[in-house]
């Protein structure tokens, strides 16, 4: 049976969680051996992507991207991080802030496959659609 990238990543996370340094080394060795035995080394990219996702999840880490029309203050950043923590239950938010004048005003917040689009650009677009109805 073919082992999916997700299954690999999940078992790796389980094997190395709460293990000492020696155990960790052994677990990684064994993991590499299994991948070699199954001839799955060429799927490393896929597996590592799945691993980092699951690792983040296990650690309660959440990557988010915050886009504003102007430079973003530190206060806004902490407020957004607090909001995301409360909303998703994540323990740590890795927030990347971006400035994009194209959105005119407001903000766009992205995390996982979710988007909260509170930009002026979208509002104007929606208003245009509404008026055209």
């Amino acid at each position: 049976m073919k082992i999916s990238a997700r299954q690999y990543a999940e078992s790796l996370v389980r094997a190395i969680s709460e293990s000492s340094e020696a155990e960790l080394k052994m677990a990684l060795d064994n993991f590499a051996k299994i991948m070699l035995e199954n001839r799955d080394l060429n799927r490393w990219d896929e597996i590592s992507a799945a691993f980092s996702k699951i690792w983040d999840q296990a650690q309660g880490e959440l990557a988010a991207e915050f886009t504003g029309a102007r430079a973003i203050s530190d206060q806004t950043k902490t407020e957004v991080a607090e909001y995301l923590k409360a909303k998703t239950g994540a323990k740590k938010i890795v927030l990347t802030a971006k400035k994009d004048v194209d959105i005119l005003g407001g903000f766009v917040l992205r995390y996982e496959d979710k988007v909260i689009d509170a930009s002026l650009k979208r509002s104007l677009g929606d208003l245009k659609n509404e008026m055209n109805k």
Binding site: G106, D113, K114, A118, D126, M131
Partner: protein, 507 residues
């Protein structure tokens, strides 16, 4: 003028003030791959099965439907211009299952499988939106089939009667009159309290234009909707077209009305589904169709039903059409659909080229539930007709070898010849049931035995005209729906009176 201007500005202000610009959380994904009307999308972790997805490409929104939900991917069919979609485009979940507009305003219109008008008669105000896929009504809600659908085609109404709520397959080779039967049936529904929906799947648009013109000419568009997925549309649109038609029919069903729906044709539908399935990399089975091709048609045709009075008493009668290749009814799709339906009308090329049109094969055609839906008068005159017609064909083939036949056989052959003459019928000329009873009554009671075979058609036409002028008998059949003595006396009188005016009878 200024009051108008102020008024407009005030209105505009109100509308803008009333408009709430809210930021909703949306689930988005990215197109990984797009090909032939199929897209693979990453993300969309909470997409639902057959949910509408919006592809935001080049400033436009193109509708798609999620069909494959995988661990990190969603396979979607694109309903629309898929050439505009590029790799990396954003895709948004809508949290809505694929649905189409339904309601009385669709009657008389030609629409595409998403319910958008194609006839240039303007926007359609929908009464409601119905999901395209719906589970068929259960046992508790159903009743047995007991009212007839009058097709107006003599051979079918007599031999293979169809009831309201039945599913009767029309099967045969190409160019042999399958659609003609369907269209005649629609034309004959005038004044029969029936809504009609014609679903064209992969048909030539010129053919559909012809059909629309014919239906309009016959006044049949007043109660007909046409759902068109033409030959130039993508497989995705062909795939959803019959379900769309069925959703539109279900609206009328829920109003307690009777609906006739024609799927023309389901072989092209299966081919479209095969294309989609192969592109979505589902494993192919027999004839490269996917494993669920049976379910594809069974879930569609199961939605045809007759509901009992507690549930409104409406019905959906389905006439699916299947095109066979060189008369091969044992191919995969024909056998599937034959086993799903309550009977089939088999059209035979040999009969067709002999001039026997409609080319209904009496031996292979059956109706499993329709006979209980025939009116009593028809049942009495046409009860054994299918058997007789089938026997005549065998007898005629056999009789070619021997010259001396006994009296009984000869009589049977003569009657059979005339029966087949009566079965012949021109296109777009459906015959009302009362007239059918009249002509069959004349046949089984020997009134046509002394009419030369080649004059049978002329005799029939004359008799119908004569009966129209002295319409006592027709009215009686129509109202009583039974062959009481009173009715029989009236019929005999008409036929005998008419025969007295003829000069070509065999002495």
């Amino acid at each position: 003028m200024s009051t108008t201007k102020d008024f407009i500005i005030a209105q505009l202000k109100d509308r803008i003030a009333g408009y709430q610009a809210e930021a909703k959380e949306q689930t988005v994904g990215r197109v990984l791959k797009v090909s032939d009307g199929i897209a693979l999308v990453s993300g969309l972790s909470d997409a639902m099965m057959s949910e509408i997805l919006l592809f935001k490409s080049g400033g436009r929104e193109i509708v798609g439907v999620a069909l494959n939900l995988e661990e990190s991917l969603v396979g979607a069919i694109i309903l629309g211009e898929f050439t505009a979609i590029k790799e990396g485009d954003e895709v948004v979940c809508t949290k809505r299952i694929l649905e189409v507009p339904v309601g009385p305003n669709l009657v008389g219109r030609v629409v595409d499988p998403l319910g958008a008008p194609l006839d240039g008669k303007g926007k359609i105000e929908a009464a409601k939106f119905y999901p395209v896929e719906k589970i068929a009504p259960g046992v508790i809600t159903r009743a047995s089939v007991k009212e007839p659908v009058q097709t107006g085609i003599k051979a079918i109404d007599a031999m293979i009667p169809i009831g309201r709520g039945q599913r009767e397959l029309i099967i045969g080779d190409r160019q042999i009159g399958k659609t003609a039967i369907a269209i005649d049936t629609i034309i004959n529904q005038k004044g029969q309290n029936m809504k009609c929906i014609y679903v064209a799947i992969g048909q030539k648009e010129s053919k559909i234009a012809n059909i629309v013109a014919k239906l309009e000419e016959a006044g049949a568009m007043e109660y007909t909707t046409i759902v068109l997925a033409g030959a130039s549309n993508s497989a995705s649109l062909l795939y959803i077209a019959p379900y769309t038609g069925c959703a539109m029919a279900e609206y009328f069903l829920d109003q307690g009305e009777d609906v006739l729906i024609i799927y023309d044709d389901l072989s092209k539908h299966a081919v479209a589904y095969r294309e989609i399935s192969l592109l979505l990399r589902r494993p192919p089975g027999r004839e490269a169709y996917p494993g669920d091709v049976f379910y594809l048609h069974s879930r569609l045709l199961e939605r045809a039903c007759k509901l009992n009075a507690d549930f409104g008493g409406g019905s959906i009668t389905a006439l699916p059409i299947i095109e066979t290749q060189a008369g091969d009814v044992s191919a995969y799709i024909p056998t599937n659909v034959i086993s799903i339906t309550d009977g089939q009308i088999y059209l035979e090329p040999d009969l067709f080229y002999q001039g026997q049109r409609p080319a209904v094969n009496a031996g292979l055609s059956v109706s499993r539930v329709g006979s209980s839906a025939q009116i009593k008068a028809m049942k009495k005159v046409a009860g054994k007709m299918r058997l007789e017609a089938a026997q005549y064909r065998e007898l005629a083939a056999f009789a070619q070898f021997g010259s001396d036949l006994d009296e009984d056989t000869r009589k049977k052959l003569e009657r059979g010849k005339r029966l087949y003459e009566i079965f012949k019928q021109d296109q777009y000329l459906p015959v009302p049931v009362a007239k059918q009873v009249l002509i069959y009554y004349s046949l089984i009671n020997g009134y046509i035995d002394d009419v030369p075979v080649e004059k049978t058609h002329e005799f029939e036409e004359g008799l119908m005209k004569y009966a129209d002028l002295n319409n006592q008998a027709l009215i009686l059949i129509e109202t009583k729906k039974e062959l009481t003595e009173e009715v029989e006396v009236e019929i005999k009188k008409v036929v005998e009176d008419y025969k007295a005016t003829l000069d070509y009878l065999i002495k």
